[in-house]
Symmetry: C2
Subunit: 121 residues, 2 copies
């Protein structure tokens, strides 16, 4: 029996704009938030995204292909984890700032952390 | 004479995923890198994006509508600036991490900051 292996970009091919694109989606941010809170490898089934299975698979693939997460098969399930070491080395502070923003507003959809200020002109 | 005023989202309507989406493009990252390096207001004409004028206008609009930059008319030109105070308050560390990644690799397109490491499993 041959284990299926999913393709991951090597660290030197991870690009900032692709990481940002992968993060720029509420469902994918929820995956990242969950994985950051879990701190380890998590099966897809542990994260309820309230979207279809094929859409869920798509979101994980976008994250994996951008270099944000790793995915490995264990039997019939995929285990997911953040590529924190690679991301922290390539883009110091980026993942932490995103995760902290997600955790601080509890939803990751909107940051209501203070009174409105007009845009600086 | 009525000054044209461009719409900006108030700070409380700035959303993380929209900021990330606005940043997830090489041309828009170049605008952000340039504005961060300039540290003040800069006319569009100062930043050479090597794309058409209408595409350039589109990129600035995406950044403005996401809350990343402010744009104000001065005569016939638009002056652009980062909304650093709002972004730093809403998403601490995010803008700095992106700008530092852009400045450290000199191009903002790829991060070649060390030897390749295989993805963590």
């Amino acid at each position: 029996m041959t284990a299926r292996v999913l393709e991951h970009p090597p660290a030197e091919e991870i690009r900032l704009e692709e990481v940002l694109h992968a993060l720029a989606d509420p469902a994918r941010l929820e995956i990242v938030r969950f994985l950051a809170a879990a701190g380890g490898e998590v099966p897809c089934s542990a994260i309820d995204l309230a979207v279809s299975k094929s859409t869920t698979t798509h979101h994980y693939r976008v994250l994996r292909e951008a270099g944000v997460i790793s995915q490995v098969y264990r039997g019939t399930s995929k285990l997911n984890g953040l590529r924190r070491a690679d991301l922290d080395r390539l883009f110091p502070g980026l993942l932490d700032s995103v995760v902290n923003a997600l955790l601080s507003d509890g939803r990751g959809r909107r940051a209501d952390t203070g009174p409105a200020t007009p845009p600086t002109p």
